[in-house]
């Protein structure tokens, strides 16, 4: 319990430092919300007036203090672009990205785990090369290209879904899922193949260890050596890698959301940066930080459960 308390403390400290850093970074960025709201034709006086109105002329420390005070009450401010509160705006977008992320992760696990484990028994040189080449192709295809490819094949040629016509899961679960599965596939495939390679490498690293020799000397057949003895040991390092994937996927894929026209966090980030919608950008950065830190804490605990030698640090 002390462990979780400590992690929560670290989380808040990180959010504090990160929010400050984002404020600092935006000091250096040219242009602001007033400028992008009024466009190129506005006079300097008009822009100045709007700045004054939005409070953009106050010193950074004052603005940061105000934001902090609001954040402590759960108020993350107003989006300068959409004129709704940031929390309201984020809520919908996060839901979309989370749906996509969960679906992607399920696909990654269902493709990556069985293939990774199943092919790690193939240790002949020829089998190794075959699996390797297949794998490299899977890993090397960039997601945006895969996204376009999937849109073309399943959307245009087979008409299994209508490109760009996003349906929210809460509106129509079946149709929503029928649409979401394709972008999820585009996100999942390269990562699933990387996962396969990772599992295979980890398994290969185990096979020369002494305990594997012991397992054989006990009269275990190769299947049992692989599944009963090596698998759990081999999965330990894979967890770290999978955690990276989880964090990445939950942060929202800018490219895939763009290609498939999905109103998620990734797209919101792009639009917000273009419009200098500072409160929204800040909220997204903090959202990603929360995801990464939470995933890391879960990984620590998983490590401890899977590997009795690992102690929880605090």
């Amino acid at each position: 319990m002390k462990y979780i308390g400590k992690k929560v403390l670290i989380l808040f400290a990180t959010l504090l430092v990160m929010s400050f850093l984002v404020f600092l970074a935006f000091e250096a960025v040219k242009g602001d919300a007033a400028l992008s709201a009024l466009g190129d034709n506005a006079t300097p006086e008009q822009i100045e007036a709007l700045r004054e109105e939005m409070g953009l002329n106050q010193p950074m420390t004052v603005r940061y203090g105000k934001w902090l005070a609001g954040a402590a009450r759960g108020d993350l401010g107003m989006s300068t672009n959409y004129s709704v509160s940031v929390s309201e705006l984020m809520k919908d977008k996060i839901a979309v990205t989370v749906h996509l992320a969960v679906l992607s992760l399920i696909l990654i696990l269902f493709i990556g785990l069985p293939l990774g484990i199943g092919t790690s028994g193939i240790w002949s040189a020829g089998g190794d090369i075959a699996v390797g080449v297949f794998n490299q192709i899977g890993m090397a295809v960039p997601p945006f290209f895969l996204g376009i490819l999937i849109t073309w094949i399943f959307g245009l040629l087979l008409s299994w879904f209508r490109p760009g016509a996003y349906v929210d899961l809460s509106e129509d679960f079946g149709r929503g899922l029928g649409f979401l599965v394709f972008p999820a596939l585009a996100i999942a495939l390269p990562r699933a193949f990387t996962l396969i390679k990772f599992i295979r490498d980890s398994m290969a690293g185990q096979k020369r260890l002494n305990y594997v020799r012991t397992a054989r000397s006990k009269g275990n057949d190769e299947r049992r050596v692989l599944y009963v003895h090596m698998l759990r040991n081999a999965l330990i390092p894979v967890i770290t890698f999978f955690a990276m994937i989880v964090a990445e996927v939950f942060a929202g894929s800018i490219v895939i959301e763009q290609v498939f026209g999905i109103p998620g966090i990734g797209r919101l980030l792009v639009v917000s940066i273009a419009n200098r919608d500072f409160p929204v950008i800040l909220a997204i950065v903090l959202y990603i930080a929360v995801i990464v830190l939470t995933v890391n804490a879960v990984v620590d605990i998983l490590y401890h459960i899977l590997d009795p030698r690992v102690m929880l640090e605090d």
Binding site: M1, K2, Y3, I4, R208, L209, N210, Y211, R213, T214, A215, R216, S217, K218, G219, N220, D221, V228, H229, R232, N233, I236, I301, H304, I305, L306, D307, P308, R309, M311, L312
Partner: protein, 507 residues
């Protein structure tokens, strides 16, 4: 009819993935039922591949060229994979050198032993399997067997781990137990206990034991016959006492001569002649060190455990001191505190010469395993020159000193261009010693510098250390668990026991 008859067995190994080289050449021996047979040889002598071929456990890079292995009336070399599965664990079982890495780290030890029953006696009712395992644990001398059953390997000491391995090997009552260096990684007292246990199991169950070791003393203590192997050939064989006391082959003679046999009396005699006028180099005052240890449960409480306390001693310049103690007694932690790698909780460490001049303390260390303690991809000249680069010694001076040092540690200048991974274990350890001496250190800490080496190499390194001790007048702290080695070389001896340090003195 012999239980095991090996006839003209010749084995090759694939070298550098290119060519096959003979690693065991025409090996023949007979082993009777109930016999304990020893095979002795240094690393690379082919003893392990020979023995692993009996159970078909050699990897793909080893192949049997010719010969025959008859076990219990059957030709082993004709075995199908299925034959092997039925044989391993039930009729022939094995224990290995490093019990820690030989057990599966993520499975409870009880379950690992129980797996044997699952594999070879599936008719045993599940309910009584646990009882069988616990009974076996008791037989091999594990106290509180019920508690041990639910432990993971890393929670047990090396000796307990090896007992678990033996319980696992013996639970299905095999006819033959192959023990590959079963005591090499263990402390002296534990080593004796494990050998005793093996002898007892041999008498109680009549199991034949094939014991492999590089140490003739180990073989001598429990075997009736012995094979001496060198470079893949059997150079001498016979009843153990004949070989041990009247070795015929020159190699066996060398092997025996290399065993350090110094006794406490030899050490005390040397200690008497010690010069006690040199200035004090190092004083350690009331040192204490504790560690945080994680409790048993996931979010369990941690406790502080004392490694050692009230440790005080001083060394004079030029003294060669030994630090004796079993693994886990805290001798390595003490060394880390002295060298500054770890901070002691209480107490004081004074290096008089360095502290008076206000300069940095120069403490160098030589570690146990020369294979993983130095960067394998660097050349010898780079390794030896590095400390001089760090202290900005000009290039010419540096090269001169590196050339002097390589000769000093008994190698030649030609070695300077070799990469570390091209050197043998003994050569690497010489480089490690040279590296430790490069900058005239205030203290050289030698942490088990010879325990990973073959006996003959060990003797050579000890001879080198004796020479250096005489010539250089440096202060050494030699850490070892091997009494004989410490008696052989040290002028003063400190023993670490139960977290306390005391000096070994004449009565």
């Amino acid at each position: 009819m012999a239980l095991l008859r090996m006839k003209d067995l010749t084995i090759s190994a694939l070298e550098k993935q290119k060519y096959w080289e003979t690693v065991a050449d025409n090996i023949s021996f007979d082993m009777e039922e109930g016999e304990i047979l020893g095979i002795v040889g240094e690393s690379g002598s082919g003893k392990s591949v020979t023995v692993l071929s009996i159970v078909g456990l050699n990897n793909d890079e080893i192949r049997v060229d010719s010969g025959s292995v008859i076990f219990d009336g059957e030709e082993m070399l004709d075995n199908t994979p299925k034959d092997w599965l039925n044989l391993r664990g039930s009729k022939i079982s094995m224990i290995f050198q490093e019990p820690m890495t030989s057990l599966n780290p993520v499975i409870k030890v009880g379950a690992q032993v129980e797996e044997m029953l699952l594999l070879h006696e599936p008719e045993t009712p599940v309910a009584s399997r646990r009882a069988r395992v616990i009974e076996m644990f008791d037989k091999v001398g594990l106290h509180h067997p019920e508690e041990v059953y639910d432990q993971y390997p890393h929670r047990l000491s090396g000796g307990m781990q090896q007992r678990v391995m033996i319980a696992m090997a013996m639970i299905c009552r095999p006819k033959l137990l192959i023990a590959d260096e079963p005591t090499t990684a263990l402390d002296a007292t534990v080593q004796e206990q494990i050998l005793d246990l093996m002898r007892r199991l041999n008498q109680e169950y009549g199991v034949s034991i094939l014991l492999i070791s590089h140490d003739l003393r180990v073989i001598h203590s429990i075997c009736s016959h012995v094979l001496v192997m060198k470079d893949g050939k059997v150079v001498e064989t016979g009843p153990i006492d004949d070989v041990f006391y009247h070795p015929q082959d020159p190699y066996t003679q060398r092997l025996l001569a290399a065993i350090p046999r110094s006794t406490k009396e030899d050490f005390l005699a040397r200690k008497k002649g010690l010069d006690r006028t040199a200035p004090v180099q190092l004083t350690v005052e009331k040192l204490k060190k504790t560690f945080l240890v994680q409790g048993n449960r996931l979010f369990g409480k941690k406790e502080r455990r004392t490694v050692f306390e009230d440790v005080s001693f001083s060394l004079r310049k030029g003294e060669f001191a030994g630090l004796l103690g079993e693994s886990g007694c805290g001798k390595s932690t003490l060394c880390k505190c002295i060298s500054g790698l770890e901070q002691a909780d209480e107490g004081e460490i004074v290096f008089h010469a360095a502290d008076q001049d206000g300069r940095k303390r120069k403490i160098s260390m030589v570690f146990q395993n020369p294979y993983n303690s130095m960067n394998p991809s660097k050349r010898v000249s780079w390794i030896l020159g590095e400390p001089l680069v760090l202290s900005k010694v000009p290039r010419e001076e540096r090269e001169k000193r590196v050339r002097e040092m390589i000769v000093r540690v008994g190698l030649t200048e030609e070695y300077l261009d070799d990469r570390m991974d091209q050197l043998s274990g003994g050569e690497r350890q010489r480089v490690a010693i040279g590296l430790a001496l490069m900058e005239e250190p205030d203290l050289v800490i030698l942490d088990e510098p010879v325990s990973a080496l073959d006996v003959t190499i060990q003797a050579q390194i000890l001879a080198l250390l004796k020479e250096l001790k005489q010539d250089l007048g440096l202060t050494f702290l030699f850490v070892s668990h091997d009494k004989n080695v410490i008696y052989e070389i040290c002028d003063r001896i400190f023993q670490m026991e139960d977290g306390h340090l005391h000096e070994v003195k004449g009565s």
